[in-house]
């Protein structure tokens, strides 16, 4: 009697938690099922269940006809490039701030960069738009090209990246550098041969966080680019929805394409992602 009462008592929290999990994850399952159903009729007649027949051609059509492939590769290269450049510049800066002996100036720099975290991004959307509108790059207007995303994405991730990297580099013991100086390394050599290799775990975390942030960014991508071929995935998806809102099966396939890369990265690197996101408090 007490055994069953105990095990019942122990399983109630799990039942409640499972209900919450279903609430959280079911929308994804709904989209996944809908993406292989034949059409809206099939979704409406059996919304909750498994599809009666599989229609994987939705994926091919979304990928080719709806140009998801174009948007996908635009997003992929912009997100990767910006994350790499942000990390390169930020780690150089973080090295100067944390390890080179100009402590007073460094402290001012660090505080100034901290302010960047306090500014609500939307407040800067318009002035950046105006600036890019006036700016030229090798005789071409920047607004409307990928450069209009690459520059602000690269710059926008700086405060978060610098803060994480400075914290990490400050924790590296000074003896390592002293030994390297004895061995005749220059400041640049210490940076590339000693500090950077030690910082790899933090670099992985900030790379993933910045990549996901860029991959998901919508506002700038929506307003700074007008040509269809240059769109990134979230904007392309919204355009796709506005045109094909009669074909929910194909639209679901498109949603799966945009969610899948992040899901895969999350499945592999969830620990770093959870730590990085909650530490930075970078909520979209």
């Amino acid at each position: 009697m007490t055994m069953t009462k105990n095990s019942l008592k122990r399983s109630i929290p799990h039942i409640v938690l499972f209900a919450f999990l279903i609430l959280t994850l079911y929308p994804f399952l709904f989209v996944l099922f809908s993406s292989i159903k034949s059409d809206n009729q099939a979704i409406a007649s059996n919304p909750f269940g498994f599809p009666a027949s599989f229609h994987f051609e939705n994926y091919r059509e979304a990928w080719v006809n709806a140009k998801i492939s174009v948007y996908f590769f635009n997003s992929l290269y912009i997100s990767t490039l910006c994350s790499v450049v942000t990390i390169l510049f930020s780690s150089m800066g973080a090295y100067a701030i944390s390890r080179i002996r100009y402590l007073r100036i460094s402290n001012v720099m660090y505080q100034a960069i901290l302010i960047g975290l306090l500014i609500p991004g939307n407040a800067l959307l318009l002035p950046i738009f105006i600036m890019l509108n006036k700016m030229e790059f090798f005789g071409h207007a920047v607004l409307g090209t990928h450069m209009a995303l690459i520059l602000p994405y690269t710059a926008g991730a700086i405060p978060f990246t610098v803060i994480i990297l400075v914290a990490f580099m400050r924790s590296i013991p000074g003896e390592i550098e002293e030994a390297s100086v004895m061995d005749g390394l220059s400041a640049k050599g210490i940076f590339s041969k000693i500090i950077m290799p030690i910082t790899v775990p933090a670099l992985v975390t900030v790379f993933i966080i910045n990549f996901i942030g860029n991959w998901n960014e919508f506002l700038m991508a929506n307003f700074f680019i007008s040509s269809d071929n240059l769109r990134t995935l979230p904007v392309g998806m919204v355009g796709f929805r506005d045109i094909y809102n009669t074909n929910y099966a194909q639209m679901s396939a498109g949603i799966v394409f945009s969610i899948l890369p992040v899901m895969i990265i999350y499945a592999v690197l969830q620990k770093q992602i959870i730590e990085g996101l909650t530490a930075g408090g970078v909520k979209g």
Binding site: L17, R99, L125, A155
Partner: protein
């Protein structure tokens, strides 16, 4: 030693690329927004100084205050609806012995997804004819609801979607704080005969107040930032009832090229965020003592 790590040119070289980008995309836009917020400027003609006209215009525009009110709804919804849910589930997860990792990983999933794509996904769920909600409603014999195009339901529908996306993120944050409380405290309370509910309300919750403060501050910041979810789901409609400050700014500043007026709204977003944060610090956070253990 000091010579190698004290070369001014090396220092400048390492910092320069970072500083150039930071000044270009943070400092300069901030200053130019502040200055042009006192100007009349449509992007074509020269900007003209017009004093406080932009701010007065915002002050007298009922639509602007509707937008501010909607930001307020975001904040109230997270403080009074989301925070209790977050607390409940993080306490629940912290108390189970098995599957902790699974729960934590799974509830976090929506917060790594693109808000725009989440918006698309949920407008599918809210779809009047083949969306999940209306199919469920009609199945149990209720009238379908035009979730996103009915002005009574539109804002609520957006708040639900936003809560769905971020609740897991905060649960993981609060959970980490609960799990870092030393076990001895809880065990001592058990010895003293305290039940699970008493321990949760008298021990755990007071000890994690600092993290709850962080959750509320992040909710405020998130509420002031909200824009993409609204643009994707309702475009501010129907009839502007779901506009928030940021979408109001975009409507005037970018779509209608009222640069001066748009920037004054940007400044107001910044000022309101600072004021709310300061107000919260003074009224609530200061009373919460930091507990060291």
């Amino acid at each position: 030693m000091n010579k190698t790590l004290r070369k001014p040119w090396t220092y400048v070289l390492f910092l320069l690329p970072l500083l150039v980008l930071y000044i270009m995309f943070f400092i300069y836009p901030m200053i130019s927004a502040a200055i042009t917020s006192f100007m009349k400027w449509n992007g074509l003609t020269e900007p003209k100084f017009n004093g406080l006209t932009n701010y007065k215009h915002a002050y007298h525009d009922a639509k602007f205050w509707d937008a501010v009110l909607n930001n307020g709804k975001f904040i109230l919804f997270s403080v009074f609806v989301q925070v209790p849910i977050i607390l409940f589930f993080s306490l629940l997860i912290s108390n189970v012995k098995k599957l902790k990792g699974l729960y934590k990983t799974a509830v976090f999933v929506p917060s790594v997804m693109s808000t725009a794509v989440i918006g698309i996904l949920w407008s599918f769920i809210y779809e009047p004819d083949i969306g999940l909600f209306n199919l469920a409603l009609t199945k149990i014999g209720l009238q379908p609801v035009m979730w996103l195009s009915d002005s009574q339901w539109a804002m609520f529908s957006i708040l639900i979607t936003n809560a769905w996306q971020w609740t897991g993120f905060y649960i993981v944050m609060v959970l980490a704080a609960i799990l870092s409380i030393p076990r001895e405290i809880d065990e001592a309370a058990i010895v003293d005969g305290a039940g699970a509910f008493t321990r949760a309300t008298r021990i755990t919750v007071p000890l994690i107040m600092p993290v709850i403060s962080v959750v509320i501050m992040l909710s405020i910041a998130g509420a002031m930032k909200a824009a993409d979810i609204i643009i994707v789901m309702t475009k501010g409609g129907p009839g502007g009832v779901t506009d928030v400050m940021a979408t109001y700014l975009i409507k005037y500043g970018i779509t209608n090229a009222k640069y001066g007026y748009g920037n004054s709204i940007g400044v107001l977003i910044f000022v309101f965020s600072l004021m709310l944060t300061a107000l919260y610090q003074v009224l609530v956070a200061r009373r919460v003592e930091r507990v060291e253990y």
